[in-house]
Symmetry: C3
Amino acid sequence: MNLSEIFDELFPICRSIAGPGIRESMQCLSRHVPFQIIGVPSGTKVFDWTVPQEWELIEASLKGPNGREILSSRNNNLHVLNFSGPIDLRLSLEDLQKNLHSLPSYPSVIPYLTSYYTNEWGFCLTDEQRKTLQPGEYHAQINARKFDGELNYAVTELPGKTDKLVLITSYLCHPSLANNELSGPLCLLSLYEKIASWANRQYTYRFLLIPETIGSIVYLSLLGRELKAHLFAGIVLTCLGGPVLSLSVKKSRRSFLGDPANVDLLADHLQQTQSKLWRLRDFDPTSGSDERQFCSPGFNLPFVQIARTIYGEYAEYHTSGDTKEFMRIDQVERSVHQIERFIKALDYEGLRLRNTSPFGEPQLGRRGMYPNMNSPNTWGYSSDRHYDERKILNMMLNLLSLADGERSLRDVASLIKSPVTELCPVADRLEAEGLVERIVP
Amino acid sequence: MNLSEIFDELFPICRSIAGPGIRESMQCLSRHVPFQIIGVPSGTKVFDWTVPQEWELIEASLKGPNGREILSSRNNNLHVLNFSGPIDLRLSLEDLQKNLHSLPSYPSVIPYLTSYYTNEWGFCLTDEQRKTLQPGEYHAQINARKFDGELNYAVTELPGKTDKLVLITSYLCHPSLANNELSGPLCLLSLYEKIASWANRQYTYRFLLIPETIGSIVYLSLLGRELKAHLFAGIVLTCLGGPVLSLSVKKSRRSFLGDPANVDLLADHLQQTQSKLWRLRDFDPTSGSDERQFCSPGFNLPFVQIARTIYGEYAEYHTSGDTKEFMRIDQVERSVHQIERFIKALDYEGLRLRNTSPFGEPQLGRRGMYPNMNSPNTWGYSSDRHYDERKILNMMLNLLSLADGERSLRDVASLIKSPVTELCPVADRLEAEGLVERIVP
Amino acid sequence: MNLSEIFDELFPICRSIAGPGIRESMQCLSRHVPFQIIGVPSGTKVFDWTVPQEWELIEASLKGPNGREILSSRNNNLHVLNFSGPIDLRLSLEDLQKNLHSLPSYPSVIPYLTSYYTNEWGFCLTDEQRKTLQPGEYHAQINARKFDGELNYAVTELPGKTDKLVLITSYLCHPSLANNELSGPLCLLSLYEKIASWANRQYTYRFLLIPETIGSIVYLSLLGRELKAHLFAGIVLTCLGGPVLSLSVKKSRRSFLGDPANVDLLADHLQQTQSKLWRLRDFDPTSGSDERQFCSPGFNLPFVQIARTIYGEYAEYHTSGDTKEFMRIDQVERSVHQIERFIKALDYEGLRLRNTSPFGEPQLGRRGMYPNMNSPNTWGYSSDRHYDERKILNMMLNLLSLADGERSLRDVASLIKSPVTELCPVADRLEAEGLVERIVP
């Protein structure tokens, strides 16, 4: 799966929350993953909201006093206020100004603006260009259609041993943005490929692409009850490229209210034992992505959000500066690798370990797992090899002591302050010797 | 209500724990608040104690070898060991010395001493004056009466929606002391006036003035059972003037033992969110005021003590240096203001908030409560006005997320690290929009 | 009981985990304490282990090329790899080397090595001596017997008011080592003498001497069920001499897993209130002594280990440097003194205190327990005597406030941040006045 090529195909499409742009994008992704694309009619009531019409942009352009083209959506989708038009107006620069949007504090980029639920129209441009505009008559044209159609989402599933569900989701509604748009779906695509290749899956994995906010509200109105009954963990993927070195997990509302889900506890554990790889954020309903809806009090689902370079950490957010060069495909791939290990550990969350010889220590010596001579030379820390052997032996002894059938591998790992990922091969060795057994409670 | 005038009327009266002085003081206060004055006969058994006789001082004076008056209670009530006499003795300076009390470490003030349950007698004077006494015969006269009468307390009530009780109490038994005597009753008087003016009261508010220690023991012997059944919170008012800037809450014994009452939790919350205004002390039975009795293990009532300049923080404590000038009427008024807000928040403790649209976020945009265009110019922190609007919007979003019918406004305020007082108008706005409802569990 | 003389008698005996050496040592100790010596036959299956044969060493010696004796167990028991032989071999220095053991990092001492469950043989010597060995033919003789016999342990008991058991144990299987061998049994002997002299004992005290690891596994296989039903606390004594000033308590596995036993809570309390006397270690199954077996998950007994100079804190560990001079009899005696006070406090763990006058404060003044005059001179901190009197009065008032029949003396001591040992005389005074009663829940 070549993420770079898929990126190049998706980037130019003019997406919005509903319309041909997002549908075309989903069809493109379906060539790599067997997505089902679902449509919900415009006007459908969904909780406190209504499904909007579709928006189709043909072209938006602004011409200056001399008839010269100032800007056009052909050059950059961000030039048009998303979801605006149709209009065809001639007006003075003075009248035009209130429909122009630029960033004085970051004058070289075009800002990205939307106005889904009003009849506003507008153009976005760099502040540098705006300052060059001369007085005179301007011709503003937004050749666009709003019409009853449907709102789409794309979904697919990898079955596991149980019908308990892990839902991995991202959004697809920003046109021509990279970190805060395509990094999420690309990561999701690649995780599908990885998890499909696992030898076995404890949980069923569902992959969902939606337009942000209204998409999750629509999905919850249809399937929220199923999620409340079956969801083991949900993960919102967003902003997974960019320069930041570690990943950041925004924990669930349940965790914020003192009732953390397994997925929260796993994030806590990994942050505590691998603090260079993981950062944590508390749940916060005032900013973020679809976890705001999945965690709303009526659902309160065990949803986290995982991101690398988040809103507030980069000036390019919601501007034309959020490019492939800023996002970096290799950083997205690093996110895939690290999140796969996170999800792998999540898949172990439901297992418990039990020492099968719990009365006194088992005699490891006769199994060749313990040195038969108690010597400072063979036993102490006289070389790196001995040091590593001792470290593994200590993990064995700890696991034998703590595996009482009530603790998960993560519980044990936390108690001995090791990342759960390092404990897995030790558990495998003990299981192979029949000294530990895994049980599903 | 002019606290300064009331102070001037009360200060000269020679009070003790029982007798005409305290009764006269209560009658004076009854002109401002409709107190009922209760009497309990001398000799009544009250738990491990017995109600003492009344003590009436006519005059105490000490004359020197030349017949010149050394000191007289006419000049300062503190000159006589409180509750001592009658005596009429002529004796040498040497014999007199063991009945004289002064403070070598603070030589310019008269100490305040009491001896309620013995037949001691004595005079108190400045150490400076004591050093001038010449050898010779002295004439010590304490013209006082001890007789069977009654011990008094004063009580009144403001009814609320429920019969759950908030008891506000202070003591009235020290003669001619300011911060550690009159600041409490003055504060209580003013709080009565404020709370009487509230639009509504969830709880019933009772106001109680007693002589310290024996008064609360008497009151508990009569009404302790009622308090155990109905008391929601109790507040002992003491030492509410003086130079200290913040108020100090001594939390209840219940809090000390890990079972905090609402009034303790409110104090914790306000200290955490307004740390410049509030200090905390743990319960401590070895010093303090009547909370020692209200919190005794047989009752263990949810009582706190609130003070400004406390015992140990000022050298003038229990001396003639504890004057109106030290206490300052304006500092007492500041105490009233801050304690009223504390009690107002206490009145909300029994309410819970519930989001009426808990499935996904409500669409605030169509209610004009959320910006319809997602723009860095209109939305970011480009001006103070936007900053404040965003702060209030964030409080709204937080309250909507956290108001699940199980949390009080204080719970929500603590979670988002804001003082509960700032959250009230936001709750009002959401309630007015029908987005939140208040329920009484 | 002269610990120094007993030490001198035990030190030269060549002990191992089974055989005449450990039996002779137990018989020696039985002259001071009425131990019963139990035997369990070789070959008995005990959980995952098998009781080994006995090992009897007659003599081990190594002769050099010129027939001169290089080393002999007559000079030091550590010269022979413990449990090795019999052999009688002539071999070159080169072939001999792999059966020689020395410490290059600590060249002046003989290391102590064992190999209980193999057919290894070997000699231990100083690295200094090893370097002087010349090429040529060597004569290695280990005149030893391995034969079916029994594994021994020694046990005795002091009855208490209840059949709840406190088990005090140490090990006796290392030949000619001091801190890491004899300090434990000597301490146990002396504690027996002390506890036998107590006026009364709440618990029954059992004293147990075993060979390390296999001894506790054997004991658990016989009596583990009884311990699970009746054990209130267990204490492993080890390494109780040496230069370290404080004692270190290794807490139980239960404590590590968040379910601390009384003995753990007592250790926590004493460490918090007497931090110069007590250190704490968390349970750790990877090193230590018999607590590893007593705390194994199938038993999970409330066992702590107490030590002074522990493994890792001294280079002399498991070498001929671990001598009487290193251990110091006076340090062992200090351990006895401090552990007796620990056990005394443990004996109070099951008691609760109840204030018999819980309604308001009792009137201490009429009992002469409270100053009748409230004076800065008689009451304040004007002298050391007043300071101490006030400190005791404060402890009384605290104890009266907190003794609600649900709290132990340690609970109260922790709340007021005093070591429980200081609170005992105060509790006695209040009990004598009838103000507090002790109850057994």
